[in-house]
Subunit: 229 residues, 2 copies
DNA sequence: ACTAAGTATGACATTTTTATGAAAGTGTAA
DNA sequence: TTACACTTTCATAAAAATGTCATACTTAGT
């Protein structure tokens, strides 16, 4: 379920390559080329992981890591640093600052993905698998269950992902296209209108206790999950 | 509103098919069959995107991509490359040179269009907008809500855009024509007087708490949004 | 007070957008 | 293979929004 990886590297080709590899593996990549754009990515929706080049001009790689570790909301986001071969000192320094792992350039896609998955597996129990609860509607990613005031609600996989996305991104309108990108994935090609159908099924599924009101239509814009009715 | 797509492919039938699909989807296509004609298209008005066949005779596809990425003005124009199935090496190479995505031949029109739209969406991200608040009237573009001292106000899409425009451009008179340009968009044919109707609807929508006084008529000139009553 | 020009407003035919039921397609486990 | 559970698309219904008009009001100038 971990999707967004922030890729920070000043060299465009390497960044592109990383993004390519990530997307091939079902991740969504966010790019940043320097300190400023990396910090700019420290907002909702937060990345689930950061791939950080240690060798940014001006040595700002370490600054970025520090920033992430200082911020309350981004503290637990794992960071994998990318280092040049032999820079042992950098590795130690990085791990001190809070990086969770490192990968030495040049690296193979396979190795990279293995590390990423390992790191995410290590931290996922806490950082993004917590149950979310809104208005008596509770979604637990671990047991993969949705309960409404105790009783379990039944829904399809897509509706579950849709609800999960909504509950982790409330009070915000999403266009059908954005929902497709975020819930279905970037390289899936389905009609915009298909979203309507799943919205309907999601509503029907959570309707029993009136929670369908949380999924709101915003005419001309898309849909919104909101506890403000 | 990206429209122009440069199509570079040496095979006329494929080019025509691409052009056909693009035009069916509301894009304007510019054709090029080889290196020279592709480079010739690197002028104003620049295309908004490039569909590039990697397998051009003489391997010039990559040259074209390089040219685009070197030129200051065309550097940021996204490139989608068309590759034959299985040419993994080409894909990586292409992404290194700066291509934004690739589509494997043969491809379905649907897939192609989805990729194009995704790339364009990625390149022109919607800027994060902050909520604006005037005299207890609050408009939040993110959740797409307008609230007046807490309670939500209901209005149509056009009224929302109109209010948004007003709130971001206060204390200034706009003629009906200017409002049409800014809120409806240029090259939209509507009567000037239609603005009156939407002004009325907007006023009615925000009237409950007296905020309708913020939308002021300036006789002979147009309308103004002002907190000075 | 009267007129001319500008503006406000209610009504309404049309067009757009959404909602929804159902068919068709996909994949999967028994 | 046959069920079965989803997913996606399509057709159509339903709802909401839009642009125009006709008519009522206002205002400024005479």
């Amino acid at each position: 379920m971990s999707r967004k990886v922030l890729v920070v590297d000043d060299e465009a080709p390497i960044r592109e390559m990383l993004v390519f590899v990530l997307e091939q593996n079902g991740f969504q990549a966010i790019e940043a080329e320097d300190y400023d754009s990396a910090i700019a990515a420290m907002v909702e929706p937060y990345p689930d992981m950061v791939l950080l080049d240690w060798m940014l001009p001006g040595g700002s790689g370490i600054q970025i890591a520090k920033k992430f570790k200082q911020n309350e909301h981004t503290r637990k986001i794992p960071i994998i640093m990318l280092t040049a071969r032999g820079e042992e000192e950098d590795k130690v320094r990085g791990l001190e600052v809070g990086a969770d792992d490192y990968v030495t350039k040049p690296f193979s896609p396979k190795e990279l993905m293995a590390r990423i998955k390992a790191v995410i597996r290590r931290v996922s129990p806490t950082s993004l698998e917590e149950a979310i609860k809104v208005h008596g509607l509770r979604l637990d990613p671990i047991s993969h269950r949705v309960t409404s005031d105790g009783s379990e609600l039944d829904m399809g996989p897509t509706e579950f992902r849709l609800l999960h996305f909504f509950m982790t991104h409330p009070e915000r309108v999403y266009s059908r296209e954005q929902l497709l990108d975020n819930v279905w994935g970037t390289n899936v090609y389905v009609e915009d209108r298909t979203v309507d159908v799943h919205i309907r099924r999601l509503r029907k599924a959570i309707a029993p206790l009136g929670h369908d009101r949380l999924v709101q239509t915003v005419r001309g814009a898309g849909y919104r999950f909101s506890s403000k009715l």
